[in-house]
């Protein structure tokens, strides 16, 4: 943190505090509204299960067609969380601030996967890839990309539905 070096370090400290509070408040607000949107959309897709099995689950009609589907999202961490994580690097332990970020990113990616094929009946062999698109200085993780992909299958439609 800023040393007691007199007036020269004051502007740095002020900027730091401003960035920190901006990050905290906007971050909290963005996270809350994102989670609300995620929960709403997940309810919409309760009829489209996604599993990591290689075969479809349950008793199902013959499969008419299938295709590869995917959804991805890149989410960046706000300043406040990054400082928290930096502190954790000092003391060790779980980094809770990043856990919520990655949870949101994964759920968002799976939702986008489902939104790319809303007419599908089931998604099998769901795989999730996470990679860091680091942008911050001091080697801190700036942003994370999550890609969810799987095979969307469509049953043969029953007689006139």
């Amino acid at each position: 943190m800023a040393s007691s070096n007199g007036v020269k370090k004051m502007p740095d400290l002020i900027i730091f505090i401003i960035l920190l509070s901006l990050g905290y408040f906007f971050g909290k607000w963005a996270e809350k509204s994102h989670y609300a949107s995620i929960i709403k959309r997940e309810k919409k897709f309760l009829n489209l299960p996604a599993t990591s099995f290689k075969k479809p689950i349950g008793e199902i009609p013959p499969i008419e067609r299938s295709h590869l589907a995917r959804g991805s999202v890149v989410i960046s961490v706000d300043y406040f969380k990054r400082i928290l994580a930096g502190l954790r690097n000092f003391f060790g332990g779980t980094v809770q601030s990043y856990e919520t970020l990655l949870d949101r990113a994964r759920r968002e990616a799976i939702l986008r996967l489902k939104e790319s094929c809303p007419q599908a009946d089931q998604i099998i062999n769901l795989r999730i890839e996470t990679s860091s698109i680091s942008k911050g200085r001091k080697n801190s993780i700036g942003s994370v990309e999550v890609l969810a992909y799987g095979t969307a299958i469509y049953y043969e439609s029953q007689s006139p539905s």
């Binding site: 299938s66 991805s72 890149v74 989410i75 860091s132 698109i133 942008k135 990309e145 992909y149 095979t151």
Partner: protein, 104 residues
């Protein structure tokens, strides 16, 4: 061209297997998107510019894989897998690979 990430195309038996095919792209983003990303790094949130960039790269990598499979005479690719990594500041490499097969 059929693509799946399981080991078969449901309902279509595999006749011949042509081997592994792959496609990759390395894309750098442009300055406009970078400024937004810099702001978002303070506030947090989704980086739409990056998401679009990586989606386009993925499409391109898949197209390269498909054309490689077509040259081999295959009509389907099974067991498709993706891999993403950042190779330089502001550039990401997308790698897609799978097994090219001929199905009925």
């Amino acid at each position: 061209m059929f693509l799946t990430n399981i080991e078969e195309i449901p309902g279509k038996p595999i006749i011949t297997c042509h081997g592994v095919v792959s496609g990759s792209t390395v894309r750098a983003k442009h300055a406009g998107r970078d400024i937004m990303a810099g702001l978002k790094n303070i506030f947090g949130g989704e980086l739409k510019g990056y998401t679009e960039l990586l989606e386009e790269s993925r499409e391109q990598a898949i197209d390269r894989m498909k054309s490689q499979a077509q040259q081999m005479g295959a009509n389907a690719i099974v067991n498709v897998r993706f891999s993403t990594s950042s190779v330089a500041a502001g550039a990401a490499e997308i790698y897609v690979y799978g097994t090219a097969v001929t199905v009925e």
